[in-house]
Symmetry: C2
Subunit: 288 residues, 2 copies
């Protein structure tokens, strides 16, 4: 079975659920923003952690992973807007506002945020007592208190706090993924924060490498933006070999931070395997 099948099915049901009370163009914009997905790294991580923790409610696990993915899709839709990155392409096709116009890109982002919590509440029918911790993990990861909205808003400050910026903009949803996986299994989620943070940092380094050495066509989005915009970048700082060494170090540290759980060793294997796909093969080979 495709490991992501429960996620795709949950996302599909959530989009379809809007039904006739959703205006047609908004429905199309929502679908466009969510399908086809990228690597679905965050829901995959959430599901792997839930599995490692012995979660027994598959609907709740799929809801948690899907909620995180919907928030990720919402943030891409809004980050691409003309008032932020003004991006023309995303996931290899025109960005949402280029395809549907700015009003629908704003509204689709809003509706996806709402949908994340709707999916979560709907998925918690069998385990209502797990909803509050899950909803709070997801809300803290996406809101003003160190979540993705806070991350993007650091760009509006005169002085940017870089470590907070990356932790909020990229790290927050990765730590939400590991914490939500544990919470969906009914475990204390706090010890899982660090694992997600480290994977998020590794992903950020990989993103810097892709931006510096990747191919826009293959990645489906523009490259060379860090250098052009003088943004901080692990690659510009350490060079390709140094950045890849840092990426590998972070992944190893993430695996070493896995809290005791029924399938911790298997989870470490899954994380290492997934992290190998953070970089396109040609770049990974460059460094080998």
């Amino acid at each position: 079975m495709d490991a992501l099948e429960p996620i795709e099915r949950t996302l599909e049901a959530a989009i379809a659920d809007a039904g006739p009370d959703c205006p047609g163009r908004l429905a199309a914009a929502l679908r466009y923003a969510v399908f086809p997905g990228g690597a679905r790294l965050r829901p995959k991580l959430c599901m792997s952690v839930a599995w490692a923790c012995g979660a027994e409610d598959p609907a709740l696990v799929a809801a948690a992973g899907s909620a995180i993915e919907l928030l990720h899709c919402a943030s891409l839709a809004h980050d691409d807007l003309p008032c932020f990155d003004d991006a023309d392409t995303r996931r290899g096709k025109p960005s949402l506002h280029r395809a549907f116009g700015e009003p629908l890109a704003v509204l689709a982002g809003d509706a996806l945020i709402v949908m994340a919590f709707d999916v979560l509440a709907n998925g918690a029918r069998e385990c209502p007592q797990r909803l509050a911790p899950l909803a709070r993990i997801v809300s803290r990861a996406s809101g003003a208190a160190g979540g993705i909205a806070a991350g993007q808003a650091w760009e509006c400050e005169a002085e940017i706090d870089l470590s907070r910026y990356h932790r909020a903009k990229t790290g927050a949803l990765f730590s939400a993924a590991t914490m939500a996986g544990a919470a969906a299994a009914g475990l204390d989620h706090e010890p899982w924060r660090r694992v997600g943070e480290l994977i998020g940092e590794a992903y950020q380094v990989a993103d810097d490498i892709r931006d510096a050495f990747g191919d826009a066509d293959a990645l489906g989005k523009p490259v060379g933006r860090d250098a052009a915009l003088a943004r901080p970048s692990a690659c510009l700082e350490f060079g390709l070999q140094g950045a890849i060494a840092r990426l590998n170090g972070l992944v190893a540290e993430a695996c070493a931070s896995i809290p005791p759980c029924p399938r911790g060793a298997e989870l470490a294997g899954l994380i290492r395997q997934e992290a190998r796909r953070f970089l396109p093969e040609d770049i990974a080979r460059l460094a080998a």
Copy 2:
């Protein structure tokens, strides 16, 4: 005691809770979008219904009302954006994007949506089993399935479905207010939908009247927009006297629709009293 004190306190705590992980300008934008409030009609309605239903958890009731108010504030921030109404003023001061710029207006709206669910999950600590119905009431009222995002998105369609447009854009949060009040008390919320819908329709008629006959300075927002944009309006259709008669008829129908509950008669009195304040005194006098 001021009936709204628990709402203002909950909103204040939610904004303050963002703490040092919230960039300073985003924190200021959030505060600006929420304080000072308008009439806080929706949370007041939610609290009145919860009281009439005999709700026994004040923190949950305040959380439900505050969540609805936060979603309302979020929708105002986004509706005022240049790509929608491009409004210069709101609640008697510059609109959010005029005061803080477009990026922060987008992000503050996003963060307020997230905050609504965070407040709800935090307020449900003592009654975790009531969180799922409340979260779903609130999410349906604000998302793509007939919620405020759907309402605004009807403006992006070639043909607008007017009854769905008003029901989603204005009615949804009013019916969420009555339903959430009942759900916070642990009652079946569905019978409360119609009461909120009717109050929402009455409010829409009052809004049309204010737009046609009100004073921009007193209202704190532009007037005459319906006529200028050829938007449908109860006032343009029925005239002032006719529109006021319709408003009163809707309020009476709302009161007659109150489901059996411990303090139904008192609730009807509160609704009539509140509805008298839908219109500025000078306009109400014009029709008397």
